[in-house]
Assembly symmetry: C2
Homo-oligomer: 154 residues x 2
């Protein structure tokens, strides 16, 4: 059984809080909001990822053949809101990742309350998400999403 502070320390180094977006013409706002929490480790640490999954009691583990790592990932908004976010509020990240987490937690709360289906909230979510994870790659430019959102509202 992992100690909760150990979990926070491991996530400080190797964890990732990301909010990504997909274009979904069938949605009224035209854009799907997808928050996720993940942790990637080399294949020799599969047991450790299983212990993380057991600790949080949610999420899935998948193998990435390209970089020979296993990734533990939680995408369920209910699990993020009820299990992931509360852990890192009780045992906070001490480094720069803590700032990412605080933005992530705000977005998860909004999405859990279905605010992401409201164009004004979604605009705030997009702005906040694009201010996270400076080194991450994005499928869409922020302005592209905001323009699409403007079109959907009209």
């Amino acid at each position: 059984m992992l100690h909760p502070w150990y979990v926070t320390g491991l996530v400080e180094g190797e964890g990732s809080f990301v909010v990504s977006f997909n274009k979904r013409p069938k949605l009224r706002v035209g854009i799907e909001t997808r928050p996720s929490f993940s942790l990637s480790l080399s294949e020799r640490d599969l047991d450790l990822l299983k212990a993380m999954q057991n600790f949080f009691q949610c999420g899935a583990i998948r193998y990435s053949r390209s970089d020979r790592t296993y990734k533990y990932e939680v995408r369920s908004v209910a699990d993020l809101a009820r299990r992931i976010v509360p852990h890192f509020e009780k045992y906070p990240l001490a480094g720069a990742k803590g700032e990412d987490f605080r933005k992530f937690a705000e977005i998860v709360r909004w999405v859990h309350a279905n605010h992401h289906l409201n164009p004004d909230y979604l605009r705030k979510i997009i702005e906040l998400a694009y201010s996270m994870n400076p080194s991450g790659q994005r499928r869409y430019a922020k302005d592209d999403l905001l323009r699409l959102l403007g079109e959907m509202k009209g």
Copy 2:
């Protein structure tokens, strides 16, 4: 102040236990043994490295311009033996790095007792060190060091 289990978790992901060797013709055994513990983080986490240094009450922080990271490193054998090794024996690593650590701790104890100046012990140290950190790069091939050691003994 960092929680000791948080420190172990962060090191599980980002820390490194390494034993390297240098050829030193002036030493009787011809080879210098250098154990070190280090942790590299991006420049936005310099404060966190300072908190680690404060936690362990030893070691130094240096900037690596090539990859824009800061590295916290402990090389003093006395500090490794009295501050670093005891921490990870009390708050053990849960993943594959724990196996590296156990070998590292054994070598640090031998070096701290000056056994690395004895050719038979040094042979065991070299064998153990080269079974650590499978992905690491080495300046010398193991057989090269063992051959040199054989010549010095003769």
